[in-house]
């Protein structure tokens, strides 16, 4: 009983605990590519601790919307994590149709952040929010088409069902379609998490920033919450890609969790490689990339519908 | 020996084309054209008497429709070859190496297409006609002719690519169990309902778009006014009297396969619709057309529409369509050759500035007028009788609405085309004549002879020829 409970809860705890590590790993890979030693793997944890210890500063023009933004954002992402199955065990709260709630929770998180940015009344943050929402509008169809393609391929309406046994056979039968969907999903993951080639998480040039410019006015614990929520979101998308790409041949939970975490390490490496080797796209090319992702996902769906 | 009789007909012009490209002396090249055209015409005349059987295991064969197309093309080419002697003499500055070579290659391709019984081979040869014509359109080497060449190449190549897809679809329809697995026309027709009908239907749609483009049927006619307008008049004659007829022949072949597979009604109604549309589009664009060569191009769109309409109606109208194919080819020869003469004498194609052609060009002017009367279906010229045959076919089949639309469009076109042509031919020339561009025997003689042929066909059609029309129409009779 206890082991079964542990098997169910532990992946979720890993999600909550390891996502800053994922971010640290990506940064490390990037610095290795650039020929630097780079920050330690645990640097994101130190950053979070440092920010949590600070006193927040609030502009007098802001209202409760500004303060609620980060918390709502974090809550939505954590709730989305409850629907996602990470390794071995199914999700904590699986139900048919939960993939729609999953996508909406991610949308809610972005909505809260964008609203908080608009609440500052700063033109820069308004610009960032506008860009973020614009690109999200292009990314969401791609995400939904990917998920619908998965629904069609697996016949299951819940995320846990889509990503469970049967996936390896599916790869053998419908490999090209799943490959297309996975490619589209990677593009969506890059866009949703503000990674190169869509956005550069390390830039501080306001004209080109997208996600970072939205959170310029947040400080202290609020900023820590936002950073943490961002790392959780990256972990979520990584989990989706990894689960889809690996398929899970194991029925027992522990090796499965191990394989999953190994897959996440691979994902971090791949992400770091992509970010190091690609140039950032011009802003007006970003919607094109996302439409291309949608088109790929649509093509996957059409292939599966035949 | 007879077995191989068809092959030299294709290969000889090709050899002459190679020779034309190789001959260093410019004076000799136009003579080569004359030799090729004369030999070709003589050989085609011999074919009428001999009627040899299939060659190359049935890939080349002479049937009624092919013989009609081939003879028309050969006659128009002979007239054009004579005309070119005078034409090139007025343009000594232009290099005629590619011009003469391309013309001879075009003759070879037209011959091959008329004889080809394998639909794949037919496609290859029709694509060759596109490639052979492109340098001819660009003969003037200026910006406008370049534009026309580009549009011609792009539109026709795309169209022909669709036709290839249609050809493959047709091959696919025969690939099923029990199918003949071939592209040979007689085998396809013999297979009849063993062909897969959905594929035949799809194939016809693509073939109609593809060869319809080459034929210049609306709505695929975009290249036609530009190419006819910018190319030398002699090329207009060859396109309207040869190449478009070849494309029509290809469509007839496709229709005959459809017919055999039981999709005849589908094919015929598609042809009927496209035919009427072409006539309508031509009528609309002829109104207020101020470039007389483009006017002729739209007239060609109209007549291709009439051909499609005739085959679409089937029955007696189909025989009329083949008669009309011959008549239209010859009459278009008259019109384009004389239009070229008028163009040169006035230095413009603008109908606002061309007046009194009958006075300045005492032969070409009246011939242009007579050609117009012939092509719009005035008795006693032959097109009147062929257009009447199509009309009576429509009435005989009880297609009252089609007949009414056909008559109304013919009348409309007569009025709009007539108003332009009469303005050109009548009145006093405004500017003084340009020296050296008057009528001479080589440029005015060929259209005169072609017109006499059109008149003769109107006055008396030999029994054998009528049988030939019926035999050709039997391929597609509904």
């Amino acid at each position: 009983m206890v082991t079964r409970l542990a098997a169910a809860v532990l992946p979720f705890l890993a999600f909550l605990g390891l996502s800053p590590l994922l971010l640290g790993a990506v940064t490390r890979v990037k610095s290795l590519f650039a020929g630097r030693t780079g920050a330690p793997l645990l640097q994101p944890y130190h950053d979070l601790r440092r920010l949590l210890g600070k006193q927040p500063v609030y502009s007098r023009t802001t209202t409760w919307v500004f303060r609620a933004g980060p918390l709502v954002g974090l809550g939505a992402v954590v709730a989305a994590g409850l629907l996602m199955s990470f390794g071995g065990a199914p999700a904590l709260l699986p139900f048919p149709g939960d993939f729609i709630l999953f996508a909406s929770l991610l949308g809610l998180s972005r909505f809260a952040t964008a609203l908080a940015a608009l609440d500052t009344g700063s033109s820069f943050e308004g610009m960032g929010a506008a860009r973020e929402v614009t690109f999200a509008a292009f990314a969401e169809p791609a995400l939904f088409l990917c998920l619908v393609a998965l629904v069609r391929a697996t016949g299951s309406l819940s995320l846990s069902g889509m990503l469970r046994e049967g996936l390896p056979e599916l790869w053998r039968a419908q490999g090209p379609a799943l490959l297309l969907a996975a490619t589209a999903l990677v593009v969506v993951a890059l866009a949703e998490n503000a990674r190169i080639p869509v956005d550069d998480p390390t830039t501080h040039l306001e004209l080109t920033m997208i996600h970072e410019v939205m959170v310029l006015d947040h400080s202290g614990p609020d900023l820590a919450v936002i950073h943490y929520a961002a790392s959780l979101k990256l972990f979520l998308f990584g989990a989706l890609v990894v689960r889809l790409a690996l398929g899970f041949p194991f029925s027992s939970p522990w090796p499965s969790l191990g394989v999953f975490l190994g897959g996440m390490a691979l994902f971090a490496t791949a992400l770091g490689a992509i970010e190091s080797t690609m140039a950032r796209l011009r802003l007006d090319r970003v919607p094109q990339l996302l439409v291309a992702a949608s088109v790929l996902a649509l093509f996957a769906l059409v292939l599966l519908l035949r | 020996m007879l077995l191989l009789a068809l092959l030299p007909l294709v290969l000889a012009p090709l050899a002459l084309a190679a020779l034309a490209l190789a001959v260093p002396r410019a004076r000799w090249r136009p003579r080569l054209l004359l030799v090729g055209a004369g030999l070709h015409a003589a050989a085609v005349a011999a074919l009428w008497a001999l009627r040899p059987g299939p060659t190359l295991s049935g890939w080349l064969a002479l049937d009624a429709a092919g013989l009609l197309t081939l003879s028309t093309a050969s006659a128009v080419f002979l007239a054009s070859a004579v005309y070119v002697q005078g034409y090139l003499a007025t343009h000594p500055e232009r290099d005629d190496r590619v011009f003469v070579g391309s013309l001879l290659a075009l003759l070879a391709a037209m011959t091959g297409a008329a004889l080809a019984q394998n639909l794949g081979l037919l496609w290859v040869i029709i694509e060759l006609t596109t490639l052979a014509t492109a340098p001819l359109i660009y003969f003037r080497h200026d910006a406008l002719s370049l534009e026309a060449t580009w549009k011609y190449l792009m539109v026709c190549s795309l169209g022909i690519a669709l036709a290839l897809l249609g050809t493959f679809f047709l091959a696919f329809s025969s690939a099923g169990p029990g199918g003949p697995q071939t592209l040979l026309l007689p085998d396809l027709i013999a297979a009849g309902d063993r062909l897969s009908r959905p594929w035949v239907r799809a194939a016809f749609a693509f073939l109609l778009a593809g060869y319809g483009t080459k034929m210049g049927l609306a709505p695929f006619h975009a290249w036609k006014p530009d190419a006819y307008g910018e190319a030398p008049g002699v090329l207009g004659a060859l396109l309207a009297g040869g190449v478009t007829n070849i494309a029509f022949l290809a469509l007839v072949r496709a229709t005959s396969v459809c017919q055999a597979a039981g999709e005849g009604p589908f094919a015929r109604s598609a042809l009927l619709g496209v035919g009427l549309l072409s006539m309508g589009v031509a009528a609309v664009f002829m109104v207020g057309q101020r470039d007389f060569k483009r006017l002729l191009a739209y007239s060609s769109v109209e007549h291709m529409g009439i051909l499609a309409l005739g085959v679409g109606l089937g029955g007696a109208a189909a025989a009329g369509a083949f008669f009309h194919m011959v008549n239209n080819g010859l009459t278009k020869g008259v019109l384009f050759l004389t239009a070229g003469n008028i163009h040169r004498a006035y230095g413009t194609k603008d109908t606002d500035r061309v007046r009194g052609a009958a006075r300045r060009l005492p032969l070409s002017g009246p011939l242009f007028l007579l050609g117009f009367l012939a092509v719009t279906g005035s008795p006693p010229f032959a097109p009147f009788f062929s257009e009447f045959a199509i009309l009576s076919g429509a009435l005989g089949g009880g297609r009252w609405l089609v007949a009414a639309a056909y008559l109304a469009l013919l009348a409309l076109i007569f009025v709009t085309m007539g108003s332009t042509v009469l303005r050109i031919v009548q009145g006093e020339p405004r500017q003084p004549a340009e020296p050296g561009f008057g009528d001479v025997a080589t440029t005015a003689g060929p259209p005169l002879l072609l017109l006499l042929a059109v008149l003769a066909l109107g006055l008396w059609v030999p029994r054998g020829l009528l049988d030939l029309f019926d035999a050709a129409a039997a391929l597609v009779r509904g």
Binding site: F299 | L146, A161, F168, F172
Partner: protein, 218 residues
């Protein structure tokens, strides 16, 4: 085998979409060349309706011919023309990249949805064959009408030919090699003639913008 054939077909369609999305001419030429090379694999992958010694030679000849013409000769010629004529590298679309991608995707979706209406006469053939061919033809036509540059229009023509080629391979069982050779040669000759015309356009207008070819109209 079927699995790999399916992968080839999907790759061909993805390359179609990539050509629609590419904004650089050289990249687009290379994509089309790659597509041609991928298509050259098809004769070797598709099952033979009537196997035999003669047929193996035939298929290999077709594959090598297609690879040489579609993968090297034509793209090489176009890249050479671009270098010699100093053509600028932008594609210059009339219809933007996103709308053309969406239109392309709709065409692909339609082709894959409705091609079921055409039953395959031989069951051993791959079900993706017909829709792949139709999608590629559609993409090519779209490219011709939505791009301003002459080179890009020729690319569209090549895509159409590639789409038709997918079908031709299928028929090689009973289409004699001569016709196929004729088809490939015609394609080569057509591209050659178009290349020459491109040259003349460039000389005449000092640009390859077919948007300048608009003097002839009614």
């Amino acid at each position: 085998m079927t699995y790999w054939t399916g992968l080839v077909f999907v790759l061909v369609v993805v390359l179609d979409l990539l050509v629609l999305a590419s904004s650089r001419l050289r990249g687009a030429i290379r994509t089309v060349a790659f597509q041609g090379a991928v298509l050259a694999l098809l004769p070797l992958l598709l099952p033979a309706p009537a196997a035999g010694e003669h047929r193996v030679v035939h298929m290999v000849a077709l594959a090598v011919g297609a690879l040489v013409v579609k993968g090297f000769l034509i793209p090489g010629m176009m890249l050479w023309a671009m270098r010699e004529a100093a053509i600028r590298r932008e594609v210059e679309p009339i219809v933007g990249f996103v709308p053309s991608l969406v239109l392309g995707a709709l065409g692909v979706a339609a082709a894959f949805t409705f091609s079921g209406a055409l039953p395959l006469p031989a069951p051993e053939l791959h079900p993706l064959l017909v829709p792949t061919s139709l999608s590629t033809v559609w993409t090519g036509l779209l490219l011709v009408v939505s791009r301003r540059k002459a080179v890009a229009q020729v690319l569209g023509f090549l895509l159409v030919e590639n789409g038709v080629f997918v079908f031709g391979v299928l028929l090689s069982g009973f289409m004699p090699l001569m016709v196929e050779a004729g088809v490939l040669l015609d394609l080569l000759a057509a591209t050659f003639v178009m290349g020459i015309v491109i040259f003349h356009i460039n000389r005449e207008f000092a640009s390859l913008d077919t948007g300048r070819l608009t003097s002839l109209r009614d």
